[in-house]
Symmetry: C2
Subunit: 639 residues, 2 copies
């Protein structure tokens, strides 16, 4: 078989592949991750690359414009290698790796905006129910009495006795490797050692023994594994402090934008292995990046706790998710046993434990359990609502007496994916926009004040609300023709937010009618799910004391804009509280507190699931919501 060398820029990574392999497949082999929302079907247009040298062939042009084709743009999923090639992956096509805006200092007055980190500090959860600090893994320094003829119990029993005396804990398990090394470690260390203890359901495990006092060198990672975004936090388990936070696109994006596409991909040959490998690479990337920045030894990472939707948890552990999308839609497992990180491929301490937050159903996963935990919904007397806006939107209604959850597929638009100039809420993302109703001039704010690179989820919400208000956009999603600002494109019209001259990428940042349609569907799905859940349980918004809005929007979400486009119901704005990534916050909470881990299990066992596909009212609600803000304007009296 003829082989060609392909070099990818700017990574400068090269690979040898056979003739007729797709660029996307060659890129994966080279370790270069390219966006591909549709899973290689050539319809999403997210995997544009530029051929700098060599020959590729592409039978169909897919989503490419004539202009694109003139510039040497190819769709990586459709184009095949025909010679040695040099290929550039432009910024908008890259699955990137950068820092999430943690925004702890950015809490706005009025209570509308709060990063997830701040929720714990707020008085939402009654104080007496705050769990005591008992991290899932703990390092304890011990000075043992050396053995003598009057005290000749074995090394292991001596260690267990010292642990019991110091912590009141009965160790019930340890690995053979620890017993094998114990005698030498104890004697070399002159009987002064640090033990790592892990709390697993029902038992305490001795994870490891080190010489000397290493009690402070104990770290863990909390993760939210989203369909589109993977967010991780490095936690110092000796004092529960956050050492650092990072997020990255889930590298599975190369195989499809939503969970259904990925489940289908998993059925292909090696499909499950590739999806598993991609998410593990995303996780290991965050771990290695944070650990090396802080000069921490990977062996001192002793626990990882992951929250995520049910499909993500299956792919994380290389469990076939096939049954999730087949009637009657049951996953292989909602509660996943505690395993070792290395069994999943996560490269930390070889005996470190991996905990997964239990989920409720195929479309309501452990991320929702973690979200309920972090907001304290399960402890509240008043009934509240949690709306988690992601590629899969989840809504929970309840209090300490009941919890009902539902889910709706919204697509990745609110995470800045699957839209033409979308990006995650990182440096250079436009997050606030206003449009002058007379001149149609646009003013905008970017994250970190950087030169604009694209628009993040909260930016799209703000932009559409502003365009509606300024009369640029009709309530059905059609753009008015405004010379110099709105122009025709291949599939309709597009609104120029920032001209190429002002952008980082030297290309126009635009919002197309296709983007608007995308967002309209996403917001309609979430709004309709919320309303269906409320009606099904015969609740009025007057009976709801709080509405928690969660999602990876970064530091800001303008609740008024979100109501303005019809994503959220038009109720008293004081009821809304933006809590950021509540799944990540709930994951961290469990990592540093065994009672919180038990509480999560309790939440998962108590929560019931409302399946929208069998709810008669849902489709009507959805159709009625395909309008800005809604076909029934009486529901939005303030807009």
């Amino acid at each position: 078989m003829e082989k060609f060398k392909v070099i990818f820029y700017p990574d400068n990574k090269s690979v040898e592949v056979e003739k007729d392999r797709t660029i996307l497949s060659a890129a994966l082999s080279a370790g270069v991750y390219i966006n591909s929302a549709c899973g290689g079907d050539g319809v999403c247009g997210r995997c544009r690359v530029i051929l700098r040298k060599g020959a590729c062939s592409m039978l169909s042009a897919g989503a490419l414009s004539l202009q694109d084709r003139k510039r040497g743009v190819y769709l990586a999923c459709l184009a095949t290698i025909q010679s040695d090639c040099e290929i550039e992956v432009p910024p908008e096509s890259r699955v990137e790796f950068d820092q999430v805006q943690s925004g702890r200092s950015d809490r706005r007055l009025g209570g509308f905006y709060a990063a997830a980190e701040d929720v714990q500090a707020a008085d939402l959860v009654p104080q007496q129910q705050q769990p005591a600090a008992a991290p899932l893994t703990e390092k304890v320094y011990l000075e043992l009495d050396p053995p003598d003829l009057n005290d000749h119990i074995s090394d292991l029993e001596r260690l267990y006795r010292a642990i019991h005396r110091s912590k009141g804990l009965q160790v019930s398990h340890t690995g053979l490797v620890n017993v094998r090394l114990l005698g030498d470690t104890l004697r070399d260390a002159l009987w002064k050692v640090t033990v790592t203890l892990a709390r697993r359901p029902g038992i305490v495990e001795l994870l490891g023994v080190e010489a000397g006092d290493r009690a402070a060198a104990n770290f863990g990672f909390a993760f939210d594994i989203g369909t589109t975004t993977v967010s991780g936090q490095l936690i110092n388990l000796s004092d529960s402090s956050i050492v650092g936070t990072k997020a990255t696109y889930n590298k599975q994006a190369s195989f499809g934008a939503d969970v259904i596409t990925r489940i289908m991909y998993a059925q292909k040959e090696e499909g499950l292995e590739k999806l598993h490998g991609a998410v593990i690479e995303s996780i290991n990337g965050i771990i290695h990046s944070l650990v090396s920045e802080r000069g921490i030894d990977l062996n001192d990472v002793t626990a990882v706790l992951c929250a995520g939707n049910t499909t993500m948890m299956h792919l994380l552990l290389r469990i076939d998710p096939a049954s999730i999308r087949k009637d009657p839609y049951v996953p292989a497992a909602n509660s996943i046993p505690v395993v070792r990180c290395h069994e999943a491929g996560i490269t930390v301490n070889p005996r470190a434990l991996l905990y997964c937050v239990p989920g409720i159903a195929s479309y309501v996963g452990g991320d929702v359990t973690a979200g309920v935990l972090s907001c304290g919904l399960d402890k509240m007397q008043d009934v509240s609502l949690l709306i988690d806006i992601g590629t899969n939107g989840e809504i929970v209604l309840g209090n300490r007496e009941f919890l009902v959850a539902t889910a709706a597929s919204a697509g990745p638009a609110f995470e800045g994916s699957g839209v033409s100039c979308g990006m995650r809420s990182s440096s250079g993302a436009i997050q606030k926009i206003s449009v002058d109703p007379k001149t149609f001039a646009v003013s905008y704010e970017t994250i970190a004040g950087a030169k604009p690179r694209g628009i993040c989820g909260s930016g799209y919400i703000d932009a559409i609300a502003a365009m509606l208000k300024a009369g640029v956009l009709d309530k059905d999603g059609t753009l008015r023709q405004i010379p110099g600002r709105v122009r025709p494109n291949d599939s309709g019209s597009e609104f120029v937010v920032v001209p190429a001259s002002e952008t980082e990428t030297a290309e126009d940042i635009v919002i197309t009618e296709a983007d608007i349609e995308n967002i309209k569907r996403a917001k309609a799905a979430i709004y309709a799910a919320t309303m269906t859940l409320m009606k099904r349980l015969s609740f009025e918004f007057g009976q709801i004391s709080r509405i928690f809005i969660a999602g990876g929007f970064g530091t800001s979400l303008d609740i008024r804009s979100a109501i303005g486009i019809g994503l959220l119901p038009d109720v008293d704005e004081a009821k809304y509280l933006f809590v950021g990534n509540s799944s990540l916050a709930g994951a961290r909470q469990q990592l540093v507190s065994e009672p919180a881990l038990a509480r999560a299990r309790d939440i998962a066992s108590r929560m019931t699931y409302l399946e929208l596909s069998v709810e008669p009212g849902y489709m009507d609600e959805y159709m009625a919501a395909l309008f800005f803000p809604h076909t029934d304007l009486s529901r939005f009296p303030n807009f």
Copy 2:
């Protein structure tokens, strides 16, 4: 480096080795196991081989007679390979692999002889305290309700629910591999599956899931890992029945006869690995032999439970035993965590569990715990004594209120090792001997009535008692010169038990003065330990209701002969009960009963240890016992 080909007969196994390698080391590489009681020091003379072709050199003749040297006999531990060779390993030098005499049908009238298997049936343990049957691993057939839209819990939770409904057990752990395979297994099997459940301290683990009804295909192995002998029993865990029993010499015999020599060997380079490999080979040999004879799939072996002395347990799990022989004599672990069999190298089902019976101290191991359990000493109202006669002799005094154990090194003579014509109690072993006081003619019985091959432990006891009675042997261990029956040899005299014309090996079966000295020391060690323990706790034999005699003698031990040589105290013979391999019986009891496992932990935690080396009276007792039956004849009024 020059290489030579060495062929070993009768195995017909060959190996290529460098010049100057010892025959013993070449044999190990070829997978041929040769007896070597002294660990390669050339003193025990157990590793005789015959050079049939080629050249070997041997600087010192070690324990070889002139006659041996003329016949081409070499000591495998001293002789080095100098050319291509063909070497014969004679039967007496082989570490053999054959069936133990289980003797369930051989219980003698009068209660003196009972195989370990029968103890359970006797009324020693009060009935109400007999544990209910709950094997450590259990297969349960389940017919699950398939999921539908009204019952859409996940596959794993569905399985756990069915287990709970069927058995009332809450599964708290399973391996990732089971979750990965679960969806397909359940659906392919149309929701009719068999689960394997394992009971571990504090938790129930789901070990595996199989299609269809396989509830009856569940097996386990109980092992007694002795310094000299490894005995294993295949148990059908679905009904607790014994499927088969086998024993073999511990292949570690190639590295030394007693635990001290082996601990020293373990300190050499690769020494620990070799000792570990040898015992694992012995274990796997028994497993594979029994399993293939019965046509059982190795994957259906789901649990292995081992009892053994503390050093054996360390070597079994490749834990360095060094600290056992260094002041203050503490092992790495008395209680070893439950691990997977494959972690130790035992080749059964990959997820099968390995349980080790907890020990008490460096020289009182889990074999004693198991022995106490099987005799029911820990449940008795009356005080009893357990004397376990092996390479290490252990004595326990106690009842349901107290348990005190001690240990003395006796050497392997009673297991038919380290004596010139010794063998295990298998087919062809002489087990009963009488000597006519006038003609000095010998009559004897062999196991299975086969042609005599050697003398087993109970045979030696019987022989010495008979020789004392007939006046052939003096009370100090000197043989009378009797032409045709007693003759001089290299180091004194020897008694011809069976002439070469009648034996399987076509060589005389003899008892030498060196053998007699060996047995005298062994019996003195055990008698002295028993007496020291009794005195230390101020007990008289009148206060003891039962004396259990345990050991791998096979089907028979003549208690009268054992008293006659001074091995056992001269008390009312009705108090004695021979219980055979009580360690193996106790191991099996735990394998088939979780309450027995808990009871063993309780015994180990309650039993205290009396260290003889710091007991002032022990040495005097030992010296006084170096006589047949004793220097103080008033202690043996009936002899």
